[in-house]
C-alpha cells in the first residue's frame, strides 16, 4: 500500500484524467473490441460501461451500414499504417433510453482514430476520439434551409413574372435558366433552349452586325447594357422589346455569366405608330387645304390628294360629283383610280347619300350580291363610302372613296374622309361666295377710282410739276394750295421717287412712250396713300425723260382690298394651321400637366373631342359663327348628363374663336363636375344660365355655371390647366372677368364680360 501511496504521489493519475476529459474517448483493441470508455463517452452516448466493455464496437453500436463500413475502413487503416486517421463528419443516431422517452436522437460526429503502439512496435490499442458536432451541423443546416427558401422565393418571383422574359446565360452566351415569361414571350420551352445559344432571339440583321457580342461587351464594361429593338420568337415572328443585360457574378465576384430581362413593348410601339398615322392624316389635311387654295377648282387638287390617300390609307379610287340643281342629278366632276373606259354613274349608294344628305357606306362588297352596289363591284371595290357636300343647307355635290385592297375602312378612316369632305365643301363654298363678291366689287371700284383722279404735267427739264385742285386732293393738301415742286416731292414716300424715275427711264430706253407705275405718297397727317400713275413720256435728244403728261389715281382702297384678298385666299390655310396650332397646344398642355401618360392621353382625347364638337357646329354654319346655346349643349351632352345640366338664356351669336374658347372652358367645367362635382353623384345638377344686362351704357354678358347636390367641394391645392384655361384664357378671350368659386355646396363659375362681337371686323 505504501508503494501504491508512493506511486500515487510520484505518478500522475492518467486514469483519472482519462475519465475527466470532456471529449468522449474510447479505447479499442486492434480487433475493434472496446477496452475502455471515458465518462464523457458514456454520458454522450447515454450508455453504461458494462454494456460496452469487451464487446466489438460494431456490436455495441449497431446499425447505419454506411457509417459502419467507413469506421471499419478507418480502423483497419490505422492498424495497417500505424498512423492516425481523421474521419469525415458522420451521422450516427443514438438510441435514447426509455426513461427519457426512447427512440433515436440525431447526432453528427467527427471521429479521429489514433494508434497506440505496444512494445513490439505494432498497434496495441486504438484511441477512438469522437467529437459531437451535432450543434454546428444543425446550425449550418438551418442556414442552408434559409438560403434555399430565399432562392425558392427568387425563383418563384422570376417564374411568376410572366410579362418579363428572364433568363441567364453562361460566359459563352449559352442559356442556362429560362423563366415562364421567356417561354410566353419567345415561344421556346425551357428544355428546348437551355444548352443552346441565346443568340437565337436576335434578328438575323442584328446578328450580322454583331449586336449580341457588343451587348455582352457593354454589359461587362458598364455593369449593364440596355437595348430596344426587334426580337425573334421561335416561330420566326418578331416583337419589339426593351431589354437589359447584366453580368452575373459568383460569390467570389467573378463574372460567370449573364442575366437578361426583356419586356414586350409591341403594344406601346403600336400606339406610337397609330399616333404617327394620325399625324400623317393631319399632314394630308394641311397639304390638301393648301392645295385646294392654290388651285382654281377643287378638282385640280384631286390628283395630289388621291396620291396621298392612296399611299397612306389604301384608298384606290376617288370620285367627285357636282350637283346639278336644275336637272336634279349628280354629275361626275372628276375621278381617280378608275379605268378610263368605265362610264361612271352615280349608283344607288351615292343616291342614298344624296337623298338622306348623310354619309353612306358599304363594306365586304366582294361577298355581296346586293344589286344596288353593282357599279362599285364592277370596278373591283371591296369597300365604298360616299359623302354629301352640304353648305348653308345646299347640296353641292359628293365625294366618294373606295378601296380594293382592304375589306373595309376603319371608323377613324371614315371620320377622316368626313373631315376631308368638309374641307372641300368649305373651299367650294368660299370660292362661290368670293366670285360673287368680286363681280360686285369691281363695279364699285370703277366708281371710286373715277372720283380720285387728277391730271398732271411734269416738265423734267425745268424740274417743275404743275398742280391742280385734284392733285392737291390726292396729296392731302388744301384744294386752294399752290405747292412748289419741292413741296410736292416731299410728299413722295422715301425711295419711291427713284422708282418712278427708273420706270420712266426704262420705258424710254425700250422705245416706249407710255409708262405706268404705282407709288406711295405721305400726306401731311402722316397717312400713306397709294397712287397709280399713267403717263405719256417725251424724251430729249439723249433719251432722258424730259416731259410727262399723265393721270394719277388714288388706289389706296384698291391696295387695301388687294391685301385683304391676299389674306382671304390664304384664309382657309390660316384657319387650318391655327386649328393645328391649337391642337398642338392642347396636346402639350394635356401632357405637361398630367400625372400619368394614360391620364394625359385620356384628357387630351376628351378635349380634342370637345374642340371637334365646336368645329362641327361652326362647319355647319360655314364658319360664320355659332349660337351660344349650341356650344353650351355640347358640354352638357358630352357626358350623357344632358338632362341634369339645365341650360337657359337668350339667343346670342358668337364668332368662331369665342365659340371654341367657350366650348373648351365649358368642357373643363363639365369634366370636373363628372369627376369630382355635382355630376359625380346620382342626383347632382348643374344650372348653366346666361343673360344680357345693360350696365353703364354697355351691354354685358353675365353667365353662371352653378353645381348643386354633389359631394362637398374642397378647393384644390394646386390650380390645374382647366382653371388656367377658364380664368386666364377665357377671360382674356372675352375681355372680361371669369371666376371660379369653390363654394362648399357646389362649384360656381361666373362670367362678366362685354357682349362678344357677333362677327369679326373686316381686315382694314
Amino acid at each position: 500500500m505504501r508503494d501504491s501511496k508512493a506511486n500515487n504521489k510520484g505518478k500522475v493519475d492518467f486514469h483519472g484524467i482519462f475519465d475527466a476529459l470532456p471529449t468522449p474517448f474510447l479505447v479499442l483493441s486492434p480487433d475493434c473490441r472496446i477496452v475502455t470508455a471515458n465518462q464523457a463517452f458514456l454520458d454522450t452516448t447515454m450508455r453504461r460501461g458494462e454494456e460496452l466493455i469487451g464487446r466489438s464496437i460494431f456490436d455495441a453500436f449497431p446499425g447505419q451500414a454506411e457509417g459502419e463500413s467507413a469506421l471499419r475502413a478507418s480502423l483497419n487503416k490505422v492498424v495497417e499504417t500505424g498512423e492516425a486517421d481523421f474521419m469525415p463528419v458522420t451521422r450516427y443516431d443514438i438510441p435514447r433510453p426509455a426513461e427519457v422517452g426512447g427512440g433515436f436522437e440525431e447526432r453528427h460526429w467527427r471521429p479521429i482514430n489514433t494508434p497506440m503502439p505496444g512494445r513490439d512496435g505494432r498497434v496495441a490499442f486504438i484511441i477512438h476520439r469522437v467529437e459531437d458536432v451535432t450543434d454546428s451541423v444543425m446550425e449550418r443546416r438551418a442556414d442552408r434551409a434559409a438560403l434555399r427558401v430565399s432562392e425558392e422565393i427568387s425563383r418563384l418571383i422570376i417564374e411568376s413574372a410572366t410579362e418579363y422574359a428572364i433568363f441567364s446565360m453562361d460566359l459563352n452566351g449559352v442559356v442556362n435558366t429560362w423563366n415562364s415569361g421567356a417561354q410566353n414571350l419567345l415561344g421556346y420551352e425551357d428544355f428546348e433552349i437551355i444548352g443552346r445559344s441565346g443568340i437565337l432571339i436576335f434578328t438575323p440583321e442584328d446578328r450580322a452586325r454583331g449586336a449580341p457580342e457588343e451587348e455582352m461587351r457593354n454589359a461587362l464594361q458598364q455593369g449593364r447594357a440596355d437595348d430596344e429593338r426587334w426580337h425573334m420568337r421561335r416561330d420566326g415572328s418578331r416583337f419589339w422589346a426593351t431589354g437589359m443585360l447584366m453580368p452575373l457574378r459568383n460569390d467570389e465576384g467573378e463574372v460567370e455569366g449573364y442575366f437578361k430581362i426583356l419586356r414586350d413593348r409591341t403594344g406601346q410601339r403600336q400606339v406610337e405608330e397609330a399616333e404617327a398615322h394620325r399625324t400623317r392624316r393631319l399632314e394630308i389635311l394641311t397639304t390638301v387645304a393648301a392645295d385646294l387654295l392654290g388651285t382654281r377648282s377643287p378638282e385640280e387638287a384631286m390628283p395630289g390628294l388621291f396620291r396621298a390617300m392612296n399611299q397612306d390609307l389604301a384608298v384606290d379610287a376617288m370620285l367627285s360629283f357636282n350637283c346639278d340643281e336644275e336637272a336634279g342629278v349628280m354629275r361626275l366632276a372628276t375621278s381617280a383610280g378608275i379605268p378610263g373606259d368605265v362610264v361612271v354613274e352615280a349608283d344607288d349608294l351615292c343616291g342614298k347619300a344624296f337623298a338622306t344628305r348623310k354619309m353612306a357606306y358599304a363594306s365586304g362588297l366582294g361577298n355581296s350580291q346586293d344589286p344596288s352596289l353593282a357599279f362599285a363591284r364592277s370596278i373591283g371595290l371591296d369597300a365604298y363610302a360616299c359623302y354629301p357636300m352640304i353648305a348653308n343647307g345646299r347640296l353641292l355635290g359628293a365625294l366618294s372613296f373606295g378601296t380594293r385592297s382592304r375589306a373595309g375602312f376603319s371608323d377613324e378612316d371614315l371620320a377622316f374622309f368626313g373631315t376631308l369632305t368638309q374641307y372641300v365643301t368649305v373651299v367650294r363654298e368660299r370660292r362661290r361666295v368670293e366670285q360673287a363678291l368680286r363681280t360686285s366689287e369691281s363695279r364699285l371700284r370703277l366708281a371710286i377710282d373715277a372720283g380720285r383722279m387728277a391730271v398732271w404735267e411734269s416738265e423734267l427739264a425745268t424740274d417743275t410739276i404743275s398742280s391742280s385742285p385734284e392733285l392737291n386732293r390726292l396729296l392731302g393738301l388744301p384744294e386752294d394750295a399752290r405747292p412748289s415742286t419741292e413741296e410736292i416731292r416731299k410728299r413722295y414716300y422715301p425711295g419711291d421717287r427713284d422708282k418712278l424715275l427708273e420706270t420712266a427711264k426704262a420705258a424710254l430706253e425700250s422705245g416706249e412712250s407710255y409708262a405706268e407705275a404705282e407709288f406711295r405718297v405721305v400726306w401731311p397727317d402722316g397717312s400713306v396713300h397709294w397712287l397709280l400713275l399713267r403717263a405719256e413720256l417725251e424724251g430729249d435728244e439723249a433719251g432722258r425723260p424730259a416731259r410727262a403728261v399723265g393721270v394719277a389715281l388714288d388706289i389706296t382702297e384698291r391696295k387695301k382690298e388687294e391685301e385683304r384678298r391676299r389674306l382671304l385666299t390664304h384664309e382657309l390655310n390660316h384657319r387650318v394651321k391655327n386649328t393645328l396650332a391649337a391642337m398642338q397646344a392642347l396636346a402639350s398642355q394635356s401632357f405637361r400637366n398630367a400625372r400619368s401618360l394614360d391620364e394625359a392621353r385620356e384628357s387630351f382625347l376628351e378635349r380634342l373631342t370637345a374642340m371637334a364638337g365646336a368645329h362641327d357646329i361652326l362647319t355647319r354654319e360655314s364658319w360664320e359663327g355659332a349660337e351660344l346655346r349650341d356650344i353650351a349643349a355640347i358640354a352638357a351632352h358630352r357626358f350623357g348628363a344632358g338632362a341634369r345640366v339645365r341650360l337657359s338664356g337668350p339667343r346670342l351669336r358668337l364668332v368662331p374663336r369665342t365659340a371654341i374658347a367657350l366650348a373648351m372652358a365649358l368642357h373643363e367645367l363639365a369634366t370636373n363636375a363628372v369627376k369630382y362635382g355635382a355630376l359625380r353623384t346620382e342626383h347632382g345638377e348643374v344650372a348653366l344660365t346666361w343673360s344680357i344686362a345693360q350696365r353703364g351704357g354697355e351691354q354685358r354678358l353675365l353667365m353662371r355655371w352653378e353645381e348643386q347636390g354633389g359631394p362637398p367641394v374642397v378647393a384644390p391645392a394646386r390650380r390645374g390647366f382647366g382653371s388656367r384655361l377658364i380664368e386666364s384664357g377665357l377671360s382674356r378671350e372675352l375681355g372680361g372677368e371669369v371666376r371660379i368659386l369653390f363654394a362648399p355646396e357646389g362649384i360656381v363659375c361666373l362670367v362678366d364680360a362685354p357682349v362678344p362681337a357677333a362677327e369679326e371686323q373686316p381686315v382694314q
Binding site: E563, R566, L567, H570, N573, H574, R575, V576, K577, N578, L580, A581, A582, M583, Q584, A585, L586, S588, Q589, R592, R657, I660, A661, M664, R724, L725, S728, G729, L730, R732, E733, G735, E760, Q761, P762, V763, Q764
Partner: protein, 147 residues
C-alpha cells in the same frame, strides 16, 4: 452659346389655346411674357407704352392685320417674329426679313427664331447711331442675381 438673359416678350395672338402654350414655351426658354394682346388696338397701345425686348405677332388677329403693330415696334427697335398659319408670301416686302414661324410650331423652332432675330438686330443697330436694340437686348452689368 446664346446667353439666356430673360427677354420681356409681347405676345399678340387671338387664339386662347395658343397663348397658353406660348406662355409656357417662352417660360421654358427662360423668358417673360410681359404683355398679351388679343386685339390690334390693345397691341398698338402696348407697343406704344410698354417696354419689350421682343414681340411675337400673329398676322391675322381677330380679323385685323398686325402689320401696323410691327411698324410701330420696328420704330422702337423691338425685334419682331411673326407667328402665323399664313405663309411668307402674305408678308409685305418690308417685313420679309423678320422671322416667320409657321404654325403650328414647337419650342425649338421658337428658340431658333428668337436667336435669329436677336443676331440680326444686333448687326443692324451697329450701323446706326441710335441703338434701340441695346434696349431691346439689355445687358445689365450691375444686375447680380446672386444676392
Amino acid at each position: 452659346m446664346m446667353s439666356v438673359s430673360p427677354l420681356r416678350v409681347l405676345v399678340v395672338e387671338d387664339e386662347m389655346m395658343v397663348i397658353l402654350d406660348l406662355e409656357d414655351m417662352l417660360e421654358e426658354l427662360g423668358h417673360v411674357v410681359a404683355g398679351v394682346a388679343t386685339r390690334i388696338d390693345q397691341a398698338l397701345d402696348l407697343a406704344r407704352s410698354g417696354s419689350f425686348d421682343l414681340a411675337v405677332l400673329d398676322i391675322n388677329v381677330a380679323g385685323e392685320v398686325s402689320f401696323p403693330v410691327a411698324i410701330l415696334l420696328q420704330q422702337r427697335g423691338v425685334p419682331v417674329i411673326f407667328a402665323s398659319g399664313y405663309d411668307a408670301q402674305v408678308l409685305p416686302e418690308e417685313f420679309r426679313r423678320h422671322g416667320l414661324l409657321q404654325k403650328p410650331f414647337r419650342t425649338a423652332a421658337l428658340q431658333r427664331s428668337i436667336q435669329e432675330q436677336g443676331a440680326g438686330d444686333r448687326n443692324r443697330t451697329e450701323s446706326v447711331a441710335v441703338s434701340p436694340a441695346r434696349a431691346a437686348f439689355p445687358r445689365v452689368p450691375g444686375d447680380d442675381h446672386e444676392h
